[in-house]
Subunit: 302 residues, 2 copies
């Protein structure tokens, strides 16, 4: 558990708002009220005094301080300053009404496209911003040295898991993805020291993924979690925690932005692993590309 402790130290710059929204579910009700105010209008919050903000959130100053600590700040003044900085950096979204998070009932397709692209792109950028390079590095190292890598994810996260599996496989690393929990658990039971198990769950509450990591950990394997919520249950069973920064809107079950954010992280890990052994990875990619050549139409593409 010690190694994950330092994860919190990352967030030195940027992504504070997203970071807060990520922590939101893990906060107590009163703190959530504060968090919502802050997220809704960071610039405004930065202008307020602690008493003022406490009143606005219908709570006490003490709770506001607790909130500050919960999101990793020393105290209120620091939060204020970080919020001011964050707010200043903010790019004005194309259409405030649309981008507010939700898609209005009467929206036409052009609006929908703008909204989605905005939140998708933001998720990717913000995820990268708050990603802890040190933790990534360790995960890359673990994967590079692993005899075997098991990846698990359900539903939408399953695609991501599967995508990562395919990528690793293509550069010659032994990786598995099992859509079925039972098979995954069986496989996890066969992992050992030096192997890696990775669980992907946006909410971090998917029982199946947690079980798989637990099993893998019990066998001595290194466990990695990829989730949007830094304090969700899955992080309890992970040696390394990688977080995404997606604020899903309505249709959240559609898991749109979160999925892109997860893929971004996967890309980073993939390139990291590939970069560790450029020659071998490059060779593997060329060979695999050749293999599918007969399935392509020759000639123009422009």
């Amino acid at each position: 558990m010690v190694k994950t402790a330092k994860v919190s130290a990352s967030h030195e710059t940027g992504g504070l708002i997203v970071h807060i929204s990520g922590l939101l579910p893990s906060l107590s009700p009163a703190e959530q009220r504060v968090a919502r105010l802050v997220v809704a209008d960071p610039a405004d919050a930065a202008r307020r005094t602690i008493t003022d903000l406490a009143t606005a959130a219908e709570t006490s100053e003490a709770t506001v301080i607790r909130f500050c600590r919960s999101v990793g700040m020393d105290g209120y003044p620091q939060l204020r300053i970080r919020l001011a900085a964050e707010a200043a950096r903010r790019v004005e979204p194309p259409d405030a009404r649309v981008v507010g998070g939700d898609i209005p009932p009467g929206a036409d397709l052009a609006q929908i496209i703008a909204t989605i692209a905005f939140s998708d792109a933001r998720a990717v950028e913000e995820t990268a911003e708050q990603l802890d390079a040190a933790v990534c590095e360790q995960v890359v190292e673990a994967i590079s040295g692993a005899g075997r890598v098991d990846i698990y994810g359900a539903a939408a996260s399953g695609f991501v898991a599967s995508d990562f599996q395919q990528k690793l496989h293509r550069i010659g690393r032994t990786a598995f993805y099992f859509p079925d929990v039972h098979t995954a658990l069986t496989s996890a039971a066969l992992l050992g020291k030096g192997d890696v198990a990775m669980g992907i769950s946006h909410t971090g509450t998917t029982l199946d993924a947690i079980e798989v990591l637990e099993q893998a950990r019990a066998r001595g394997a290194t466990t990695v979690a990829l989730t949007n919520f830094p304090r969700s249950p899955i992080t309890d069973v992970a040696d390394y925690v990688l977080t995404t920064a997606a604020r899903e809107t309505t249709y959240r079950s559609g898991a749109m932005a979160s999925r892109l954010a997860q893929l971004t992280v996967v890309d980073c890990l993939f390139v990291g692993v590939a970069a560790r052994n450029r020659a071998r990875a490059k060779k593997a990619l060329e060979v695999t590309a050749e293999a599918v050549q007969p399935h392509r139409v020759k000639g123009r593409r422009a």
Copy 2:
């Protein structure tokens, strides 16, 4: 105090640093020392407490307050916040070397992350920009009215296809995805007028996808292609062509940005379809979300 009065009105936003340097000569010696510190490193000044800054400027807190008033602020906290905001606005452009597209051999993970995030986010944004809303609208309409939707994609595009299938399924539309060409062809043969077949291929040269669309078209189904290359072979067999805008870099076989771009398009179509029948889609999402509830850890994510 009269001299400073008029200054306060202007400079509501931005240019604070410049403003201060302009006023510098008109300030008293002790205030100038404060001003110089502030101008030299606004971000650092924002971090300091008033006592701290006073000590650093070898003066008293009172002078710092006077300085605040001299430059038109209400008090120290306001100055702090404005400085933080100002400092944050100075965005340093991402490392050109990294962002150029390719990843240099000696790159560390932080660089890799920045590069990937940049190209991924760009792909998403640019794809949305060039996406033809009218074509999307027609595709959405076709899918909404379809008795059945067959989606085909190979390898990386297969994930996207599968993702789309799952999404449509979740909102109650009959959609299929077959990882196997043979099965896909068989299925395509059973399509008819009013049905939709969608082929996803980054290069637009994947034979399998083309064959599936050809088959579907021959049966009277509406065919849709999703590709990065607007004039690639697959577009010849498609009634509607949707394009992505991803410029893949090295490791292109890794299909990173292209995949995100494809997913963005899929998201747009999905939301478009869902928006056509909000009530039904919402209901379906709720029901499906409930269905997996037992597989989640209960309680808040602490």
